[in-house]
Point group: none
């Protein structure tokens, strides 16, 4: 099965947004063994869309459309496909009810044009939208499968994961299964990681090893092909062992996990509570930890101590500590971690203080960061970092390092 | 002139990277009045690349290629185009010297395959690469202009800005410039917004009006074409006035601004300081406000009061308030806002308490949110919301509503 992804939307052609949907869908299709040979972007124009469909039909037998399913008049993907393949648009009662409910829940009045979103291609399989209004759909015609997905990534991604991949997996011929596993690394650069396992990457054709770096982390995607999924999996196990006998100390998890998710697991296992004092990170650590539902068993709260006054008045950092060492210091990080744990009554206190940028602070260069971790009032460790990124990258990486150090400390204390 | 952007690279089709080059070039082309009607992505495969070129030649008279100019065997953009349009590849002496210098500077030995990068299409105009090795080039053949650019954004972007846009501007007939403006709306749904201005959208061909919804906000993109940029701008002014005479109360800004950026402006103007008490948003408001450099003049800090204990112990919410009304209540939001302002000594305190989901709390449904705003200890208002989204959407929208209400309040107090 050869796929093509057609993104519909003039905002893409004007460069207002990037086509992240094509990337997301391509990744998912690779995972289930479907080749993607072309991406196309076309504007909200029925003639040009129609010509793009005609071209795609000649070279692909799966066409996935994103965008143009909304309520407004320039949303015309469904209408254009319907006319092109000679199918009617019919009202889907379930989708309509779900849209009505969406408005009721939001306490808003539903305008008439919203009903257009519940129109679907006759005979299509519906992909429910649990994060928005317009449903997706899949329909076969001639030699070609057409899948229509909404444009907003927040709606499209969960829909495709929950319903799209399953529907497509059934269509893939039974000859070869593709199994893929992502290994996640932190604390090692992409080039170093690649140098360590260069010979393995060179030798491998099945499984393949594909390195990628993003947001201060590295991943290795291992992909094996075999008729038997069990065999494919054990091929991946084998190469993973070879790789991690060399760089396993940096490997923290698999697939879609994150350092924060791994930290949550350890905290839950050990039934430990944590609080945070955040200066340069400004709430980012706390925002991430509370993004998981049911956090309150391990996370209680904390303080964003952006200014020195808040450090002194709310978190009781000593005047002389700040005068003598500054707020970007081991000593300040230590007091912040200890004092937030005692203020909020938690087992662990973690603190972030440093220079996010763009300008230096207290004569310390941008990227200087101190992370303090206080455990049960007994032990406090402070890590110093010198990061070299933008303000945003320095904040994001500080939080990742915080998670990494805390996981490490809790796992060490287990071994001891 | 109608342009198409063809990105060459299998890593794009595997979803390993996103096609940010197409976005960047599209933005630049819009700025110099060149329409982009299609983006195409094709892998490192000469047959499929050739077929993509043939299709592009039929519908576009400017084709911009990115990628496939490097030293390795799978870099074949130049070779494929040369064969297709019947032009030779010739060694460019300047490019070769620049590549040799590149290796000398880096103290590395130049391998033979690097010379391939200095081969250029006969008769083409060279676009020097000041950030890498492979030069770009532009050549005319038949009715079509072919521009070839390197794939890495760090090389392509400066090359295109310095040499590409100038070369293309000369080609553009002096007939039309494109001017675009984005109006940003909050507190009104996409469908309602469109209903209000439906007749204007219908009537307009120049400027055009294109609605788009994302992350709980709506935008309208106004695009005008005219020989004279001043005239194009005043055409946009005129239609903006018509639109905002109907829905102006929901319009909060232009182009790439955000509600938080607008809030920062107002706070800076009025020299007011703010602190936050965050329960369901868990630090998101504070993380966003501190993402701007130099926030400390208006933002001092705050508390993430995720559990009831922290609300009581750190923020002194009265025991009886929680017992009688619960934490998801007007009363709790009011005390949180007032008490955080007094704890952190700021002019304004803002609080977020509610049910992010996925499960209800205190018998109140998911999406129930109370936002308290206390100003100078004199006035406290509490807004109640009933949002209908996921945990993540409810948190994000709560923060946006918080910014929106606070901006509104500060602007009203000015009028009064």
């Amino acid at each position: 099965m050869n796929a093509e992804i057609i993104a519909v939307g003039s905002e893409l052609l004007l460069g207002q947004i990037v086509n992240s949907n094509a990337r997301f869908i391509s990744q998912q299709l690779a995972g289930i063994g479907i080749n993607v040979y072309f991406h196309t972007v076309v504007g909200d124009n029925p003639d040009r869309l129609r010509s793009a469909i005609e071209i795609a039909e000649k070279r692909s037998n799966l066409i996935i459309f994103t965008g143009g399913l909304g309520p407004t008049k320039d949303d015309l993907t469904k209408e254009t496909i319907a006319r092109h393949i000679g199918k009617k648009l019919v009202m889907d009662q379930e989708a309509l009810e779900s849209i009505e409910l969406y408005f009721k829940k939001g306490n808003r009045v539903m305008t008439e044009n919203n009903k257009k979103q519940a129109l679907v291609l006759e005979g299509s399989m519906i992909l429910p939208n649990h994060h928005g209004m317009a449903p997706g759909m899949m329909v076969e015609n001639g030699n070609c499968i057409y899948m229509l997905l909404p444009g907003p990534p927040k709606e499209m991604e969960p829909m495709f994961l929950q319903f799209g991949t399953a529907a497509l997996s059934k269509q893939v011929k039974e000859d070869e299964k593709i199994v893929s596993r992502v290994l996640r690394y932190f604390g090692i650069g992409e080039a170093s990681l690649e140098t360590e396992i260069d010979d393995l990457i060179e030798q491998q054709t099945n499984p393949t090893i594909a390195p990628l770096a993003a947001d201060g982390e590295c991943t290795l995607r291992l992909t094996a092909k075999h008729q038997d999924i069990m065999v494919a999996n054990s091929m991946i196990d084998e190469i993973e062992q070879k790789i991690n006998s060399r760089v396993g100390q940096f490997c923290y998890g698999y697939d879609n996990t994150s350092l924060m998710a791994e930290l949550m697991k350890v905290l839950n296992e050990k039934q430990l509570t944590v609080s945070a004092a955040e200066s340069l990170t400004g709430g980012l650590f706390q925002q991430e930890i509370t993004s998981f539902p049911g956090t309150s068993s391990v996370y209680k709260g904390g303080v964003v101590c952006y200014t020195n006054e808040v450090k002194k008045e709310v978190l009781k950092v000593k005047e002389e500590t700040i005068e003598k060492y500054g707020v970007v210091s081991v000593e300040c990080a230590k007091e912040l971690a200890e004092n937030v744990a005692s203020l909020v009554s938690t087992d662990i206190g973690i603190s972030f203080t440093g220079v996010a940028g763009p300008t230096e602070l207290e004569g310390k260069p941008v990227g200087t960061v101190f992370i303090g971790i206080s455990i049960k009032g007994k032990q406090t460790v402070v890590h110093e970092l010198l990061l070299g990124g933008t303000r945003e990258a320095n904040r994001t990486r500080s939080v990742k390092y915080g998670c990494y150090y805390l996981i490490e400390l809790l796992q060490e204390s287990q071994k001891a």
